[in-house]
């Protein structure tokens, strides 16, 4: 499958996407192009304004990977779930791939997104996913009763904090990515990227 080249989106910003500052992402893009390999077009955005994206990368790494009472696998599932609700195709594929890698089960991840009731996950996890679903679609949305319900189900404050922060972060990414029109990659490329994200995380240097 060949790499998508054009943009079908309204917001195509050639001065942003073609102006890479020197650095890690510039080098990654150059290497991919030299090999004729498909690469994630989010790299174009990361290469453009590094004063901003360097913090974004660190923040993403912290939110999704810092040791906490909620697993990186579930945080990736929250990222995928939020992205699916916001209809961000690229982020959905990217984080489904990472979550599938960490759970070792792609069917579980897709079922959680498409039909949560039927997903082979415990009730506690479904409750947390429904909670972040509400946060994504409606603001203001969180009540003390929501948190009490999560705590009663066995989530501690640290897990709730990371669930909220992950959902909030993907409400950023989904808008950035859909507005600038970063396209989905092939399934193969997403699988490779998912493996890399599961193994190496989000800091590229």
């Amino acid at each position: 499958m060949s790499a998508p080249t054009g943009r079908e989106t309204a917001l195509y910003l050639p001065d942003v996407e073609n102006r890479h500052q020197p650095g890690t992402y510039h080098d990654l893009i150059a290497a991919a192009r030299a090999q004729g390999a498909e690469y994630s077009k989010i790299w174009d955005l990361f290469a453009f304004q590094q004063s901003f994206t360097i913090h974004m990368g660190r923040f993403t790494q912290g939110v999704l990977r810092q040791p906490a009472t909620i697993s990186p696998a579930l945080r990736e599932l929250i990222a995928a779930y939020t992205s699916f609700q916001n209809q961000c195709a690229f982020c959905t594929q990217a984080h489904v791939a990472a979550a599938s890698e960490l759970y070792g089960d792609a069917d579980l991840v897709w079922t959680a997104l498409r039909d949560l009731d039927r997903a082979p996950l415990d009730d506690k996890t479904k409750l947390l996913l429904r909670f972040v679903g509400k946060m994504t679609t409606t603001l203001p949305s969180t009540s003390a009763a929501d948190i009490d319900t999560l705590r009663a189900a066995g989530w501690d404050d640290e897990a709730i904090y990371f669930a909220i922060t992950t959902c909030a972060l993907f409400n950023f990414y989904n808008r950035w990515i859909t507005a600038t029109g970063v396209p989905e990659m092939s399934q193969d490329a997403h699988r490779r990227q998912g493996k890399a994200l599961a193994e190496r995380g989000y800091i590229r240097d």
Partner: protein, 180 residues
């Protein structure tokens, strides 16, 4: 009342920051770069986009604090910030900023809402690709900050004077401070 046990006595988003300082540092740096970093859009313009999006997300803390920061960047002109909130098309701001606010308003709903016509309008009014991109990332970032604050239900001051002082500090000292 905050929903999870947050350190006492810190207003709004700062109490969430204090809960996990490791995630707070990059969040503060993001705000600093987006709102006060070197840019062809003024900090007042960028803070107005932040306040506008926060209002549409019904996030009182973010709206009130960034409204005050915007005003402090513009000689205390709260009336300009409030006019943008009421109806940016008739507000006393540049045609370029109106076009960027139109894009920010779409992004607040979904990045997919932005149309070619919106982008063409912004370019016609003199916006560069970088400025259009900045409007997108500020709007998107506040869809994140607003949910962070809402989800944690951080302490929300009701005293308007508190927001004025907070906005003054945000405008003058910025977001990366050592004492908070």
């Amino acid at each position: 009342m905050p929903h999870i046990v947050l350190p006492d006595g810190l207003p709004g988003i700062t109490s969430g920051f204090a809960f996990r300082p490791e995630t707070a540092k990059p969040m503060r740096e993001l705000a600093e770069v987006l709102l006060r970093g070197s840019n062809t859009l003024t900090s007042g313009e960028r803070e107005m986009i932040a306040a506008f999006v926060s209002d549409r997300n019904d996030c009182h803390f973010c709206h009130a604090s960034h409204r005050a920061a915007a005003a402090h960047h513009m000689d205390g002109r709260y009336e300009t910030v409030d006019a943008v909130k009421r109806d940016y098309e008739s507000a006393p701001v540049s045609p370029k900023l109106k076009a960027l606010l139109a894009i920010a308003g779409k992004v607040q709903e979904s990045g997919k809402q932005v149309t070619t016509a919106d982008v063409e309008r912004a370019r016609r009014e003199g916006a560069t690709d970088r400025e259009i991109h900045d409007a997108v990332i500020i709007a998107a970032a506040f869809c994140m900050f607003n949910r962070y604050v809402d989800g944690l239900a951080t302490l929300t001051p009701t005293d308007e004077q508190a927001y004025d002082m907070m906005g003054q500090r945000m405008a003058k000292e910025g977001y990366v401070r050592t004492n908070r």
